[in-house]
Symmetry: C2
Subunit: 436 residues, 2 copies
Amino acid sequence: MEKITPHVVIIGGGFGGLMAARKLARSPVRITLIDRKNHHTFQPLLYQVATAGLSPGEIAAPLRWILRGCPNIQVLLAEVEDFDLSRRVVRLSGEEIPYDYLIVAAGASHAYFGHDEWEPFAPGLKTIEDALELRRRILLAYELAERRAANGEEELPLNFVVVGGGPTGVELAGTLAEIARRVLANEFRSIDPKRTRILLLEGGPRILPAYPEDLSQSAAGQLQRLGVEVHTSTLVTGIEPAEVRIGEARIPAAGILWAAGVAASPLGKKLGVPVDRAGRVLVNPDLSIAGHPEVFVIGDLAALKDEHGKLLPGVAPVAMQEGTATARNIQRDLQRKPRQNFHYVDKGSLATIGRAAAVADFGKFHVSGFIAWLSWLFIHIFFLIGFRNRLIVLIQWAWSYFTYERGARLITGDTRLPGWDDLESTHSERPKQRVG
Amino acid sequence: MEKITPHVVIIGGGFGGLMAARKLARSPVRITLIDRKNHHTFQPLLYQVATAGLSPGEIAAPLRWILRGCPNIQVLLAEVEDFDLSRRVVRLSGEEIPYDYLIVAAGASHAYFGHDEWEPFAPGLKTIEDALELRRRILLAYELAERRAANGEEELPLNFVVVGGGPTGVELAGTLAEIARRVLANEFRSIDPKRTRILLLEGGPRILPAYPEDLSQSAAGQLQRLGVEVHTSTLVTGIEPAEVRIGEARIPAAGILWAAGVAASPLGKKLGVPVDRAGRVLVNPDLSIAGHPEVFVIGDLAALKDEHGKLLPGVAPVAMQEGTATARNIQRDLQRKPRQNFHYVDKGSLATIGRAAAVADFGKFHVSGFIAWLSWLFIHIFFLIGFRNRLIVLIQWAWSYFTYERGARLITGDTRLPGWDDLESTHSERPKQRVG
């Protein structure tokens, strides 16, 4: 006997999973959305939390609040451990959830190219927790430098090294430069934050490799005007506490930020179908997987090529369109209509660099500088989930645009930094009297 | 040879220390303000962070940002380990800072009446980190309850127990009741948040013992109308994971919040002068300590009685007035004028209970309900440090007043709860199929 209401299980409340849930909210299905966080994170603005411009609550909203008006959707906070595709169940710790349709939208994390030992010294940026950790390290570096300098000790050079010249690396580097030169400029007595060096290291021949070449050049120029040192064709060969190695060269670093590799969620491999080198699942043109038309993979976890044979990028618009397409195909199944293949409609790409600095690729039109930045600003605020957040983010940004203030500069948690601890412990053996 | 510019060292950037620093900013002194956090925390609004109404960045601001316009003030992020009053130095880890004047404003923390083993199961509320931990536990309790119920398992009763009927306990209990009945009401599918029980336990015969008796009664009535069960003359005898014991009775608890005891900073004892039972330093009428006119203790760390022999309470107005008085006495020393004794000017006390519910004691006038709440609201927003924060807090509150939304409902960090773990591990041994 067939079930009357099909059960759709969605794994992941990012852009793809959330869009699929919303598009199915008025359909005759029951939906269970499972995420290991209680909130949707607006990832394109995570760098603003890492650089103290926005608070976590301004770029994230509880999934069950976003979906409160959808009585057919249940949100569960849980971590998925495995699947049994033959029995059509998802395994949580100690519990199984049966499904009729499964949408896996578990996303991606950062990867260290086989050097996981670098992670403690060069954290990446994928979650709210990551962003708070980066913020802690950046702000703490200035505090510890001030304390050393006040104590008459040799300064650790205030170098911040950003590894990876994609959109996240470019955003972080540009914003760090602004903070050093404008935000913190008058708040320290023993160090001069303007002497901060920001190094952006990119392994390939140009930054923003997914963008047209003229925009890469424009971005590099805009970064350099902000005071960022851009190094292309530069491969990192080692990362130690407070030090980056490039071949034989060693760069002392007060902070190291990882914005380079991406690895798909390990859940991809558990589906038992082929994955690519980054762990992305090879999907059919309708985003289902081989042998299981009832299982879809969308977003950063899916590997799908466009008509030119180019892999679709891991960005929010792709994930959202895939979520919509998958919801439509499930609706078409229920209506006994044939499925449609997914086609990505590229409306352009935007990368921000800093205050009034950005690049935009609208296909025929390439835009740089203030106009690109304004486009970026309004598109991002428009897409932020929840009206209250949008309003507050707009006020925060207007305020910080005119005053150069950043409102979320709190250090919470531990007040030690890797690479600075040795220093502290050496000290305690030889107390030193400060010159009164 | 005498130093030309006296060096004032202030320990603690709370209400007392910050006020002393600001009042000395235009005097011919050098000031070093030392705090183990980089930010001033507006403690009266911490309960709003714990209950997800405000983000940490909205009630805290970096000390060096607050003091950026004072070139004679240096802010250091450091933990004070000890003093050497005879040599007039403050000891940090591995470093000594000499002073001409020392103001110790290190505040207080929560105390468990000799039962420190209760702390992991019943966290208190003194810092931003504490508030985030309470928020995590409160929100997570609902998430785990929803997951259990969705899985068809027996519900752990959604009881929240607040221990201590002072202002913090009253605020927490009232706000929790509102969250359960209004904010979360429509967001869960398998549990009914309206069935949450909030228990406020007070050891003494009435809540808000520092307030006049009629206001205690009014507060208890307002709490009961919000749905809080108020239990006075009720002594907690044991706290276990997810359980509170009162004599032989055991109350299962999804969350336990500690708002009872207060202990002064351990730095008080290191000054070598008598302290009271709570560790507060007995000070002279000018707030200096016996034998050391150059050392002052102010704020929650100081024990000083008013003209009626009543100990001054540990509240922000006392600390701020003490900071001002100490700054003036240092200025009088420099001008070779005699010092003045401290006199607290009591402008009244306010305790908030929830939405449009509060009590206010203005001496002759006792006010309850909406008017008291409005007074509370405007006084607190007025005193919030920093204009941007004030504006944003006002918008957040206006928004949540009219919509019953709370904007900061993020769970960050670990997604386990003490007392719920056993459950999780029992599960994993016997997977259970949910009824599809």
